[in-house]
Symmetry: C2
Subunit: 325 residues, 2 copies
Amino acid sequence: MELVTLADIRTAAGRIAGHAVRTPLLPLRGVGTPAGVWLKPECLQPVGSFKIRGAVNAVAALSVEGRARGVVGSSSGNHAQALAYAAAEHGVPAVIVMPDTSPAGKVAATEALGAEVVIVAPPERDVRAAQLAVERGLALVPPFDHPEVIAGQGTVGLEIAAEMPAVRTVLVPASGGGLVSGVATAVKALTPHARVVAVEPELAADLAESFARGERVAWETERTYRTIADGLRTPAVGVLPWAHIRERVDAVLTVGEDTIRAAMRLLATRARLVAEPSGAVALAALLEHPGFAGEGPTVVVVSGGNVEPALLAEVLAAPAALAHG
Amino acid sequence: MELVTLADIRTAAGRIAGHAVRTPLLPLRGVGTPAGVWLKPECLQPVGSFKIRGAVNAVAALSVEGRARGVVGSSSGNHAQALAYAAAEHGVPAVIVMPDTSPAGKVAATEALGAEVVIVAPPERDVRAAQLAVERGLALVPPFDHPEVIAGQGTVGLEIAAEMPAVRTVLVPASGGGLVSGVATAVKALTPHARVVAVEPELAADLAESFARGERVAWETERTYRTIADGLRTPAVGVLPWAHIRERVDAVLTVGEDTIRAAMRLLATRARLVAEPSGAVALAALLEHPGFAGEGPTVVVVSGGNVEPALLAEVLAAPAALAHG
């Protein structure tokens, strides 16, 4: 299997310029790592997550004919809006297949971006998207198992390495594995002394198990759906991401649900960032494994910020020992 | 009275590099201005507000002898932590005079930054700071009425003009007036076609009244303390800021309390930014005066994000018609 290269990520960086925000590194004090912690706030992207990077790269990589026909993707979450946004930015028609369990607000937001939304029963999602691709000649843009998507997400790592060449540890949320695959590709190529660490909830720890066993395993969705981190419930990393992860990722850490909430609260009160639970897991890893980021600067990717206001309010109102001060 | 120049602001930009974050411009969709709205998120600065810029510039401008002696400032709010932070970054001793009404958390945070905190009765605040300056040979760094502070805040405008030369309207929260003075100086020098607009709460509209009358007026603190925007309760703009504002600011807009809350909610849900009430007033102006930003791109300065978690939770939980969607 051919892996994404640094050159692919550099190409993606040129394509996303002007569409995705080049997010700054924000210093975070007081989490007890002597050499410093910086946040990479991808929650500040136009549709609230890093997904915009991969989606824009995939759309921009299409031929003239491909752009005229359009794209299709299936998602109930951040990928839906990212693909709709990317297509709209390039004047490309987009069809998004969403499960009938999607919140009305997410459907409306996707339609507001100009996409055609097709509602189906959850198990039919991916099949329907593939059908539409064939029937209408649309380019299928999956959320993570795709080289252009991985290359696009890799621009996060390119920016980290460029801004902080001394970085020693990079913590990245993982589910389908597109983000951590891309980040590891760029970081390992540019700053080989740095460790790249994937983070996932204990309750959806299929990647930690895969990593320990040395083979890709899937968890039942009844298990992964227990976590509050709704963006990280994918039952298994993608096939292409797994090939990158086993080669380029140094470790996998897991975090508990209370720590995820504490990290969300810390991000809101100390970094003034709204993070969704999935976006807060990498910081949660630093709270739960304080000795881990021992030497050198640590960068924590805050991957997204699309959280229900009521949940954020609940997290802010609740006393959370880890997040005080 | 000698006004701050573009050259002063360029000097400040060199001094703050590496201490303050160069905040990105974040596109904000759906607020109904055809040419687009961008946020300048100063809430992402290390101590949660733009104040870090002026404080770092003032500390960095000291002589070697001045640095050895140290600085003093009086503040119950963001300036206290910004000055303490700036002093610590330069290895300069800092004394912060705080009123005995300050929340314990703010006192602790200022001390945690290494500053000596002197607690006094509120009316004695400025006098005590001036005394300490004389007694101990400390350099007094006031929150806004100071050329180096204005020049430091002006780097916000420098960055806006550099990143978006086509900018047509810049909306800036105003109270003491240091920020809007500096921003107007840079923006008018670099992009003279752009309007710079100061925004304040209706309940603390001393600047709007001053602007209308053509002379600097003060409001009683019993009046200004009615607003939720606790960073904008200064009874009058400073003398030096006023000289800049009358010369370089195009208009003053006022906003209601409900709109400030709606803007806070919108920032959290659509831009994933935690803003304090004072930090949200410039966006509130766009919500309350939708026709105002007619032509060309609009930049909204989100000046700070130090809000009590309970207040943010309340704003998120409350239905706010303007912020829905």
